[in-house]
Subunit: 342 residues, 2 copies
DNA sequence: CTGAAAGCGCTTACAG
DNA sequence: CTGAAAGCGCTTACAG
């Protein structure tokens, strides 16, 4: 009954391919082939091996395979946060795009920190990944160096790379920030504030898009930009709304760099009987599920975060597989959702 | 300049420990010890090896280490969803509890499916994990069998195991559902509906708690239970609120099995001028960030999801490390948040 | 404190 | 279609 250790000192004690082969009456390498390249083996042999696998409850040892084949079948994904639904949606997409039988996903949370990203990369390099998915376009010189030295394919997610050789999947954060600002300008708002938190590269690019639109309309004013490094939360959004109304009494619209903040602002206005959009218009970014439902519903930018993950992982898998990608820079676009809050 | 392949046919082409050892003028095994058990090596040797590591840019090969040591240093976590913030918070906690230099986390999304869970487990078993974190208490017989056969430590997350030998971290879903129902009863509501979606084991246990409280108060009525298998969303919450009001005209309170649904219900009432709680009271479950901010604020159960992940991973690490856990069943509790909606 | 040898469990050319 | 041998890059007892 017990396939026990039988005096063996090392190893995991699990059934090995060698035992499967012996049980099936073939050589180890034939057993190996029967499992990984069944078309190279006679049907009779394959059946014998498959039977032995079932009877012995054989589970392949991934470490041994990785070592022998020099192929890890590991993909690394680094995201700046695991509490931000934008990035968990990206991970969900990556997850779905990866055939789990083949590839294994290693997830790292960089916490918006270059140092953390470096540390994670160094750790994950030990797994000799076949490729890596990175959030954003800008990384520390050390990270760039490690990536270059490793020679593995890298796909950047969220924004579009300037360098056409670089692999990237996302949309133009700049253009999206620009588009929603132009929407507010077209609506007739003049004193449009921008509120940014976290100040990661995406927020800064959205701010660039905002600034450009304001300048083009002759409405630019540095006083209208409120920037804080704190993480975005509903509570912070409420606080920054209050701050904006206090310090900018003539402000007639606020573009928040994401929906979390904008939701806080809308709740704040509801509680203080500030009419949105009559007293002040509010716009967000990302189109979280609640945005279409709250009262008033929130004008925002719908972003393809799940698809970014899905397409980025698919692109990476293609490149790893040696396929020439149709595009190295996949623009998934964004959609302006005009709603009641503006 | 180039540490090139030099005729080697196999392998990754990366610097090996053997090369580091040669560079440092010591044996491979001394180099190995200098890195993994530095206290067993003289300071001079350690320095030489560390220098060689830096000069050659050595990165250990995890697969080789796993194979030689029969220790994968891999932990698997299986969750039913990657779009539900409850489970992404759990993963966030797990992530933070694992020292990344040592252990690697493999995440699986079972999509609330037993078959998927089985498939993932089978795949992840190939990595010979040191331990596994599972969501929920009930699993398919196949999964139970595979787990038993693998003999690896398992920690169940979210609810508390009945069997005192089983490792579990969470809180009593039953008691929490019971507590919020009793709160509604104490407030004087009589026709209290329960709305459950997804119908996973946690929802069913919350429903049990609800039913028990209703029976104890002599208020039980099967008509008050609305159960649908669809995933919980804000849109579904709005729809089920409408349905409840339509089919149960005398209903004076609704306990939704989670905040996502309850938020949809509150937005629905806002849009249709249904006063909450005067016309109908609404309660949720999980205390999502928006719940304290929306108008009216939502009465709900605050659940320690991040801590569940953190403590479950810590417990698993302890057991893997051979430590006897203080408790095998860690009750992290829950908190009733009484707010404006009831 | 240090080392020579064997072994972990697979896959890879190379033959036949 | 099948097999004997070598090797992937580490760590593990066992000596000294």
């Amino acid at each position: 009954m017990s396939r026990s250790s039988g005096g063996k000192v090392r190893g995991t004690g699990r059934t090995t391919l060698e035992e499967v082969a012996a049980h099936a009456g073939v050589s180890t390498m034939t057993a190996s082939r029967a499992l990984s390249q069944p078309q190279l083996v006679s049907e009779a042999t394959r059946t014998k091996v498959e039977l032995a696998v079932v009877e012995l409850g054989y589970v392949p040892n991934r470490a041994a395979r990785a070592l022998a084949s020099a192929q890890s079948r590991v993909i690394v994904a680094l995201v700046p946060s695991l509490s931000n639904v934008v990035f968990t949606a990206v991970l969900d997409g990556i997850h779905d795009a990866i055939e789990h039988g083949q590839y294994q996903l290693l997830i790292g949370n960089t916490r918006y920190s270059d140092a953390e990203e470096e540390k994670l990369l160094l750790t994950y390099l030990q797994s000799n990944p076949d490729g890596i998915l990175l959030s954003g376009l800008t990384h520390s010189p050390q990270v760039e160096r490690m990536l270059a030295a490793s020679r593995m394919p890298v796909v950047s997610m969220m924004d579009l790379a300037d360098d056409p050789g670089e692999l990237s999947v996302g949309f133009s954060q700049h253009d999206a920030g620009n588009a929603i600002t132009r929407h507010l300008i077209e609506r007739g708002y003049k004193r449009i504030a921008f509120v940014g938190a976290q100040l990661d590269e995406r927020t800064l690019r959205r701010a660039d898009g905002y600034r450009e639109a304001m300048q083009a309309a002759g409405l630019a004013d540095p006083k209208l930009e409120i920037m804080v490094p704190d993480p975005s939360t509903i509570a912070l959004g409420a606080e920054l709304m209050r701050h904006a109304l206090d310090t900018l009494p003539d402000c007639d619209a606020v573009f928040f760099c994401n929906d979390d903040l904008a939701h806080g602002a809308i709740y704040y206005c509801q509680r203080h009987d500030i009419r949105v959009p009559q007293d002040v218009a509010i716009a967000g970014f990302n189109d979280l599920p609640a945005s279409a439902w709250m009262v008033p519903s929130l004008t925002t930018i719908d972003t393809p975060r799940y698809r970014i993950g899905y397409e980025a992982a698919s692109l990476l898998l293609d490149v790893i597989g040696g396929k020439e990608p149709r595009e190295r820079r996949i623009d998934l676009g964004f959609t302006l959702r005009e709603r009641e809050s503006t």
